[in-house]
């Protein structure tokens, strides 16, 4: 059995390589986060999807219940976002609202759902009607500056007749 030691070491090497690859696949990638079990799709229209990406999480109360399947432009130039929700999260009311949030100040975008009180559940293919677009920082700053300007102008015009 001259070759047995070689064969043993080759076997151990190949096993080690595959074990490392497998451990990496499960312990260090997002493979475990893929939605297991049954899921259904709903759509939502946003006037601005911000930098939302496909496969971004959909959360209710901070708990992940689904992910974003695709983001396309609809004929009215709104962002049409398709959400894939896990059946395991239970039935959502038909008047559930969707808003685009950012985790942290500069973190990833995600969709937060806020369940309403409708007794009818949200079904496969339904559209979420209550949506709130992504906050664009530049617009927010622009609005703030404009408001500050108009407030000052308002002060001036109010002050003028008094003189």
């Amino acid at each position: 059995m001259a070759g047995s030691k070689t064969e043993w070491s080759v076997g151990a090497f190949i096993l080690m390589g595959f074990a490392c690859a497998l451990v990496l696949a499960f312990a260090s990638t997002n493979s475990g986060e893929r939605l297991g079990g049954d899921s259904y799709r709903v759509t939502a229209r946003f006037t601005n999807a911000g930098d939302l990406k496909a496969r971004a999480p959909v959360k209710i109360a901070g708990v992940k219940v689904g992910e974003i399947e695709s983001i396309t432009l609809d004929p009215n130039f709104d962002a049409l976002v398709t959400l894939r929700l896990s059946q395991a999260a239970g039935e959502l009311p038909a008047d559930t609202g969707a808003a685009i949030f950012t985790s942290g100040l500069l973190g990833e975008r995600y969709i937060g759902l806020s369940p309403g009180g409708d007794p009818e559940p949200l079904k496969d293919g339904d559209e979420i009607l209550l949506t709130q677009p992504a906050v664009v920082l530049e617009q927010l700053i622009g609005k703030f500056l404009f408001n500050a300007d108009s407030a000052r102008a308002g002060d001036a015009s109010e002050a003028a007749p008094a003189r």
Binding site: V10, T29, S31
Partner: protein, 246 residues
């Protein structure tokens, strides 16, 4: 210029010749297993140690930089993405070129210099099938496996450093690591890169070794060339793959 073109052509033809000489017969497979032992299994220590130190230094330097922005919790993201996308496949291939490619080229060059390759053809044994194919196949199989070992060791070393020496919260470390590494995008492409690098490292080492001038000097030139061309090829291909795959 024409010489360069001819060299490239010879390189391509040699690949076809190797692929054409793969027989999958018992003796060839036995030789391949022996070569996996020599160039794959025996490379594990250097790859593991190399990977561990890369993980340690990436974590240390990354932490120092990230913590100035108050983003120390993103350490796992930084470590895993750098290691999966670039350092893992590239450094494994370069270490492999230095550790095993040079040995392959020297061995084949010496066989050429001592007329062993000529003797094989005189006995009507295809020298490519007998001595080149087992080495080529062994390298192609070994490099992706070694890459997995490298990445594993660097992430584990990085985690140990982060948790026990730098005091990063392990929950944040693993959560940011897992959420940022995509199974197809990053993990899959690490192995695509590793496979491509394996083929080219093996091809360059066997090509320069097999076609070495049959002198002691020729052998030494072949050994040098296998490391220099191999490493440069890996870096060049890495740029090409990074530019096209991501």
């Amino acid at each position: 210029m024409r010489d360069r073109l001819a060299a490239l052509g010879a390189f391509g033809l040699f690949l076809l010749r190797i692929l054409g000489a793969i027989r999958m017969t018992r003796p060839q497979l036995r030789d391949t297993v022996r070569q996996i032992h020599v160039i794959g299994a025996r490379s594990v220590p250097i790859i593991a140690v190399g990977g561990a130190f890369v993980g340690l230094v990436m974590t240390l330097q990354g932490y120092r930089t990230l913590v100035t922005f108050g983003a120390g919790n993103a350490l796992g993201t930084m470590l895993s993405l750098t290691v999966f996308r670039e350092l893992g496949p590239v450094l494994t291939a370069i270490l492999f070129c230095g550790r095993a490619g040079s040995a392959m080229a020297a061995e084949l060059g010496l066989m050429r210099a001592t007329d062993q390759i000529t003797s094989l053809s005189m006995m009507a044994i295809d020298p490519v099938a007998k001595v080149v194919v087992p080495r080529f196949l062994a390298a192609v199989i070994s490099v992706p496996l070694l890459t997995a070992v490298f990445i594993c060791f660097s992430i584990v070393a990085g985690w140990i450093q982060a948790e026990f020496l730098l005091g990063v919260d392990p929950g944040y470390f693993w959560a940011s690591l897992q959420s940022s590494v995509d199974l197809r995008q990053d993990y899959g492409q690490a192995f695509v890169k590793a496979s491509v690098f394996g083929v080219f490292c093996a091809l360059i080492a066997t090509h320069v070794g097999y076609h070495a001038r049959p002198t002691p000097e020729g052998t030494s030139i072949a050994t040098t060339q296998s490391v220099v061309y191999g490493s440069l090829m890996v870096l060049f291909l890495d740029f090409l793959l990074s530019a096209t795959l991501y």
